[in-house]
Amino acid sequence: MHDEHQVPIWFFIGVLLLIYGVLIAASGTYGAIQPPPVEQRVALWDLHADIWWSLFMAAVGLFYCIRFNPLRPGETLTGDAEDP
């Protein structure tokens, strides 16, 4: 379609998930160190779902960022470049 490097949709998704994951993990870690008052805690607060869920999200985001790096030769918008 076009010759220049193209940024696949998967890369955009990876960046967004990575940013979200880092932000929420930071917030969750802060909340674990400085716990909010009991009445402000969500159900199952002690499981710290915000930390492990956001880390999982960041890991998925990072995978997409690396796997669909737009600098990869021949990369396309749909991310179907042939592996070297």
Binding site: M1, V15, L44, T78
Partner: protein, 717 residues
Amino acid sequence: MNFPCPLLAAAAGTSGGLISIGPLDYVIIGIYFLVVLAIGFYLKRYASTGEDFFLAGRKMTAWIAGLSFISANLSSLETMGWSAMSYQYGMLGAHAYLIGGTAPILFLAIVMMPFYYICRTHSVPGYLQLRYGEGSRALAGVSFALLMVLVSGASMFAMAKILHLLLDWPVHGSIWVASLTVAIYVTLGGLISAVFNEVLQFFLIWFGSLLIPILGLIYVKGWGRMMAAIQENVKVIHPSVHNADFTCLWHNLGSFDTNPMGIDWFGMAFGMGAVSLAYWCTDFLQVQRVIVAKNLRAAQNGTLIGGAIKMLVPLIVTIPGLLGLAVLTTKSGAPLVLVSETDAAANITQHTYNDVLPLLMGKFLGPGLLGLGVTAMIAGFMSGMAGNVSAFATVWTYDVYRPFLVRNAGDRHYLSVGRWCSILGVLLSIGTAYSLFYFSNILEFLQVLIFFFIVPLFGVVIVGMLWKRASPAGGFWGFLVAMLFSIGMWCYVHTFPDGFRPQPNIVLGTGAVVQVEKTGDGQSEKILRVTVRSGDVRTTNVPIPQAGREPLHRGETVVGSAEVLLPAAVGQSGHSAPLRVLAPEVVLSDSKENDKFGVDGVPVVLLPGVEVHAEDVTHYFAPAEFNPAHTKYIARSEKAKPMAVNMYSAFWTLLLSLAVTIGVSLCTKPKPEAELRNLVMGLTPLPDEGPCPWYQRPMLWAALLTAVLVAVNVIFW
């Protein structure tokens, strides 16, 4: 699937925010808007031809096509509405994703996709033109283009009202910010932009929603305990159907009485089958996502990927609805009772069915994750809107403008028309959304509008694909007659020859001073009598006694020297109806505190000086009400709930569409076979796309998906 859902009725009520979000949540929402706009601006350079803009260059891979296909349907109306359905109907809500989701998607992938793809059509109306001629295409093109903007406007209206209800955001701000964002990225990037944002939305929805069932099932200590808690709690939550089984898919469909939906297995299997086949196989918004794949194999595999994911959607929709029955409790530990939107206390003192998902979000999701959940909700609305607008631009440009208005212009001209159509589509959607503020009673109508159109269309398309004898006249009349029949059936079930009188009610004006007499405490508290000391009230269908004169039915008056007693029940149409008292914002005379309540069947006393605005209303046609005397002929039972009526209506419409198309075709001249190549079974050779590894073969995945679908139905029988 976008069945008519009570979620839109939530638009009727407003209150303060149901959930509150913090700075981090706003940052997460803001980042989402920046990213979608960045994608739109980036993709502008790749939408330089009509094929790029309208058909995404026909370059989509199976995964992008599949995720976009499923995301186009996975809007926030879907997730919130079907969670509410599961709260109301239990496990039966999951049928929309199994027999009503994966099964028709399998049919689309294996039976219909080869015809759509090989004929290289740009749209479903485009296929009608190739198969039946211009008459059918014109009918479908104009209807579809109009429907798209109306549905988009209704969705926008619902989004603004729901964001206001949940987060207390201003409705005008929500409409304009979301609309302008959609207008920018769709106008710049066309279908490819809409598709890419749908894929993005897919990830947001899953990351924003999946944690709720995970934490919910941990909280309730597993599936078995959740089901046991549900059967225990429904005695309190749904007392009218307390004997019904909420925990299975088929076992409770032996009769109309044993399940909470008031439907039997025939209606579920064939009604749901008709609606869902039509929706998944001929709604152009859906089909457009997969016909733009790079080859037939990718189109089929993309569709199958969508079908597999569809089977997983109950994890984030049905299970939260069930969790709502099991884990939502009051402070005293009793089951929290959510009510229908039509309940007296809805959105005043009680949350409604539609609030089940936001309530669970508030219960389980902390800062950041809550913002992610809200972002997923906004993304769902916006990508739904973008899908409608891009489909409108395609159908209007290719199926109305080009064949009937300007025939032989260049590609750049049609590309420019497409971009302007995108802006026009957004503006028409905004106009529709604003008109709904003044005519909110047509919301119900807009929700079912799409079914008037796509069920007849499916009948015509499937006959055209499978039977070469089907004639242009058969296609046209099959479509038109079934569409008119569908509209007629809808009118019939909402018609009341003897008149429908809304429940007698009195709404106490803002700031009215009242005295409320109560008995009991906490959950057992009951209001016995309400006395309005000052302020104004509005009454509907309540005769206001007047000293020495006939009762006032309509008009305005001020209560004179003697107090007026409005009884707890009012006689109308030969029976007694409870008086509904709605007090959204009043002042208690004893404590001078603000209060709100809604209650049925209590007497109201109006003291001297109270202003009364009385109305007397009788409807002979009520779009939000079903006439049981008429629904029994459509849905085979007076007990049928609206969902059951819709499913049976779809079934009859499909039967008529098939019958008329076949009948008229037998009496009229078919197209010559030479004109039917690549359009009809037997005249459509499958292209040789070369060898492929076993794991890319559509038939293999279709067989596997079928086996899993059967297994899921058996496991949850």
